[in-house]
Amino acid sequence: MNTDSPSSTPLNERRRLAVKLRLEGHKLKEISKLVDLSSPTIIAAHKQFIAGGWDAVNVNPRGRPIGDRAATTKLAEQLKTQALNKPPATNSPWTLALLSEASEDLGAQTSIRSIGKYIDEWDLNSTNLYKQCKEAGRQNDWLNTHYADISSTARKHNAVTYWAGTNTSSCRCTQSNTLQKYIYAHTTRGKYYWLAGDYATDVERFIDFFNRLASPTDNQSDNTSLTIIWQGQDPRLNTQLSQWLEQSQHISFHQHPELPSQAPKNVNEEINENTSERSVRTKNTAAPTTQQNNTTPQESNNDSPGLPTKQRNTNTMPLTHLQRLEAESIHIMREVIAEADKPVMLYSIGKDSAVMLHLAQKAFYPAKPPFPLLHVDTGWKFQAMYDFRDKVVKDSGLQLITHTNAEGVERGVNPFTHGSALHTDIMKTQGLRQALDKHGFDVAFGGARRDEEMSRAKERVLSFRTEQHRWDPKNQRPELWNLYNTKIKKGESIRAFPLSNWTELDIWQYIHQQQIPVVPLYFAAERPMVLRDGTWIMVDDDRMPMNMGEVPMMKRVRFRTLGCYPLTGAIESSATTVPEVITEMLASNQSERQGRMIDHDGAASMEKKKQEGYF
């Protein structure tokens, strides 16, 4: 480092020489060698020449007259304003050398060492974490494994490695009177860069900082490749930044496992009258900074979040919500199977059943799910559902038990003459009880979710039924951690809901991600429809009596839930693929059971049906 401060006259000569050489087309490095000025200085001088001619190249006399403290203070203040408020004129972030030059421009002569002292004083100089880690031997695992990989990749791609982060200085922002935040970066050799701004509020500045770091040096035309080791809160939590980083091919971004070791500044005492929205003082500095010494490195590589989850076999990233939901459902199924005597899975052919069956196959792979499927058939399902059911059974190789309430059939119970309530009670609720009793099943898996309906929000994962299949609200068991109590007396039974914590959106996302086949009725197509009581009903077969003057018309519709066709309302839609269904659902404001006529049979109707044993 150049420590002796040259007086201004020879310096000006050298600056002029540098500009001359630059104009003659010499390379920066050559000039730098000849005149002993740093490249940024030469660039700055050159720019000054272009802007203001030879006179502008000269800097004012350096040093301060002895005893003139006021001048120093004033200069320091000016420098501080520069260093903290605006980026330097060149396309680099601030460095010690640039600030030193800036002081020259202000007509003072400040050595780089003095500048170093200033920035220490302003708390602009962040700890070099790299150096710290190396010296203290901390995070050796990370340094030896992940960092070794990162830096060898960086070398291969000719990338410059920076350790970067954000920090708060002890200086106040001029507009808002709050403490100024800044972004910084160190090279592994200790060269230090910074720019005022906070990525949390000032995304542009963050991007600018990295653009400046990457801006081409003189002997190259492309952007410099950067490898960033970031310490502190992950900026990718900000959508805009995460997108930008993802798009920036030349930046390879890595999160360091440890947060900055500097204690957070104590800012509780600050008083702030100014109400600028850029102020970022935190009331609670102890907030979410858990210092974990042995945290597993959360390395991200360039693993863009666009990869489907199932391909991410070897990640150390936190699990996604779908992975967690999947694991939870599998856990529940295994837990129940390990302790049940005679389990069965209720298969209703709908999308939830499809997901549940898919999960069961995963849970017991390579074995087949150790239970049969049970379909309680009311006789009034859509034909497409029957077709789909038979195909699924064939493909899965599982045993299917179908049960229809023979008594109901004999009495000719149907949804048209008996109404939805009676039909559902006899064909579905009674039918289910008969089937469970007949085969002696002690546990039945169902695909119900808590988000389906208000009264299900309190339903347990394991729901206990008496010998009469009644649901006794007073006799439901608490479920803590992932511990499920499956003990029952002879004759009692359990309904197990492994999808309890899934929402309709989760179900569709999972269907999309895992490419699970579902009944085509979920997708829009031209179908023969009639409008009854404001609900579109499909005329699936000729058992459906037509009202006076009623003629089915072809409508482009799809179904959000599937049940008995005369009781299931369709929605007008053009969504023919899973992504389109999801898009439509996100835009829609109707809840999914809105198409189910049984829910509207009077207040708390689901509640009543549940107590009677309906799912």
Partner: protein, 638 residues
């Protein structure tokens, strides 16, 4: 047209990618209705658009009818639910709500109710990453605020949000906010919470819920939602802990495949990793991580997988597979913190089923050290635990289980207690640490086992536990049986009262505690001898069923054969070979079995001999015959 469609498709794809790769945060909201909890929850659901139009419409019309907010939507009605639901009286009352943002999926455990608060809140908190403790800005930190914070700390929730609500009613005063924060911080020093974030809110007017409030320019912290979107999830933290997988189910589709299915409780695992099975202590190496989507190179905490090992070893449900470096501990006695959840109080001495991880064992609470007053944190003496009470208890299991301290691992250190008769879940708790330091002794797995040794001797090792009144002829018959067995070339050992009292148990007297310890030691010695392949005969009065049961529990099924030597008291007294009955009748001998201390007859002994109408020789022959029938001894090959 085509180009436009492409753009839409690309957008959908982007959206799907974003939403399929979110993580998940579970939280619990604590506070009573008056604190505006339902309003806050309703507001979060509304702002994150988790509500559908038909639900909103219903609430809008309800708001006009029942709401407290004039023509505005009363958000509380969104989550308070149906009238019928409110009245249905579910005993444990935790409702789960769901909402999404672009960054995360949220599962909210909502625990309403005042009276049953403790068990409800513990239930909801057991799975939560974050607890939102609501405070009414007008009332400040109340007793219940402290209770909520304490219960959250008890379940080990790492992050607490102190949501100071109704700031609009205190004129958005910074001083009020600071005062509440200060008094809460004072309290939080007494309990074990690390990260408290205080946020001033008005749930009703949406200040600092999802967007920064313009009414509180003095506050520069995060909004509630952005805090929830960025706070670290527990699942992430459990990645750094040592590997644990409680075995749920052994997967044997055919003879060539033997997989161990379970959810990874902590850490990560790769093929080639050295593992130890607890509590058996056997070691092996991971061969494959099997899933339907193909074998994995690595699996991490939270994933449900199936592991295969390079060795054929016996593992069953309830075992924990852990890393050999820092394996799970195993023990059968613990200090624990228990929350009681049912009307019938918990009694020390009664047996309950204890489910920890995937293992179920029989537990007895041996001692309630103290009960904790959740309002004052005082520790009081207690004889039993009533519903909603929390106690610090010692528990004793009928066998060793694999576990971790709750502080180290929530999944392998938590348990529920199940009533053996009603099957209800009656309590829940945390394993704080093992007693007697037994956790550092890992069972030594040996290659030459009981089976091998027994086979060499052409016998099945077992204990013949003779029980009966003094003078019934136990020792005489046991002696004869042993003689006959030795003549056949069997390997036996007779443990009799006197020789044990002179050596192993010479430090024990005849108090109740010493008698129990006497039998326990005999049981343990008998077990070791059974393990060495011997047929062990013991002859002690052992009058109490509990003691005999204790000895029986030490051994495997079919290894403990209770031999009841039945003699009416009158005949035994008439024989009186040692003159003891005489002394007892004269009052010279206290607590003599049959006279002034009861003899509890075995209910279903494996072998019963009646000495009132059979000679000792006949009895011995009968016993040998039964042993032969049960396959304990088989014919010797020449």
């Amino acid at each position: 047209m085509v180009a436009a469609n492409e753009v839409i498709k690309k957008d959908i794809q982007k959206h799907l990618d974003l939403h399929e790769n979110k993580d998940m945060l579970r939280l619990i909201t604590c506070g009573s209705v008056d604190d505006g909890k339902s309003t806050l929850l309703g507001r979060l659901l509304f702002e994150s658009k988790a509500l559908n139009e038909d639900q909103l419409r219903a609430v809008k019309s309800d708001s006009k009818k029942h709401g407290t907010q004039g023509d505005d939507i009363d958000f509380a009605l969104l989550v308070d639910g149906l009238a019928a639901e409110r009245e249905q009286g579910i005993t444990i009352d935790v409702a789960y709500r769901y909402f999404n943002t672009d960054k995360r999926k949220f599962i909210v455990a909502d625990t309403p109710g005042h009276e049953q608060y403790t068990r409800n809140m513990i239930t909801g908190a057991s799975t939560a990453d974050v607890a939102i403790v609501l405070v009414d800005a007008r009332k400040g930190v109340l007793e219940q605020t402290k209770r909520h914070a304490y219960l959250a700390s008890l379940t080990g929730i790492r992050n607490i949000v102190l949501a100071i609500n109704k700031m609009d009613l205190v004129k958005y005063s910074e001083n009020t906010f600071d005062g509440i924060v200060e008094s809460f911080n004072e309290f939080s020093k007494l309990i074990n919470v690390d990260n408290v974030t205080a946020i001033p809110l008005s749930a009703l007017l949406a200040d600092n819920v999802t967007t920064r409030s313009i009414n509180m320019p003095w506050y520069h912290g995060t909004t509630l939602l952005s805090y929830l979107e960025t706070v670290k999830v527990d699942g992430e933290l459990s990645l750094s802990k040592p590997f644990r997988l409680p075995v749920q189910w052994v997967n044997r589709p055919n003879l060539d495949f033997r997989g161990f299915a379970g959810t990874i409780a902590s850490g990560s695992v790769k093929p080639g990793d050295a593992i130890r099975i607890q509590p058996s202590g056997k070691t092996s190496t991971i061969e494959r991580i099997v899933t339907q989507d193909g074998d994995l190179e690595q699996a991490v905490a939270g994933q449900a997988v199936t592991l295969t090992l390079t060795d054929q070893i016996d593992i069953s449900r309830g075992d924990i597979i852990s890393t050999t470096e820092t394996p799970a501990s195993s023990a059968n006695q613990f200090e624990s913190t228990i929350v009681w959840m049912t009307e019938e109080p918990m009694l020390p001495g009664r047996q309950y089923l204890l489910k920890c991880g995937t293992s179920t064992s029989t537990a007895t609470i041996t001692d309630i050290k103290f009960e904790i007053n959740v309002n004052t944190l005082e520790q009081n003496a207690a004889k039993n635990l009533e519903i909603n009470n929390i106690g610090n208890c010692n528990i004793n299991l009928d066998r060793q289980i694999a576990f971790d301290n709750y502080d180290d691992n929530h999944t392998t250190g938590s348990f529920i207690l199940i009533d053996r008769i009603s099957n209800e879940t009656v309590g829940a708790g945390t394993l704080n640490f093992a007693l007697r330091r037994s956790q550092n002794i890992h069972m030594q797995a040996v290659d030459v086992d009981k089976e091998v040794r027994s086979k060499m001797k052409t016998q099945k090792s077992c204990v013949l536990w003779f029980t009966g009144l003094s003078g019934s002829g136990k020792s005489t018959i046991a002696n004869l049986v042993e003689k006959k067995l030795t003549q056949e070339g069997r390997h036996t050992y007779l443990l009799d009262g006197d020789n044990v009292r002179h050596g192993l148990n010479k430090d024990l007297g005849f108090t109740d505690a010493d008698r129990v310890e006497n039998i326990r030691r005999i049981g343990e010695v008998a077990r070791l001898m059974v393990d060495s392949g011997l047929i062990v005969l013991t002859a002690f009065i052992s009058p109490f069923r509990a003691e005999r049961q204790m000895a029986r529990n030490l051994l495997e099924e079919n290894e403990f054969l209770e031999v009841f030597v039945e003699t009416p008291l009158a005949i035994a007294e008439e024989r009186d070979p040692k003159g003891l009955y005489k002394k007892a009748r004269q009052g010279d001998l206290k607590n003599f079995t049959g006279i002034d201390s009861p003899y509890e007859q075995p209910k279903s002994p494996e072998i019963l001999v009646d000495t009132s109408n059979m000679s000792a020789e006949q009895c011995a022959e009968q016993i040998i015959r039964i042993l032969r029938e049960r396959g304990v001894i088989t014919e010797l090959k020449d």
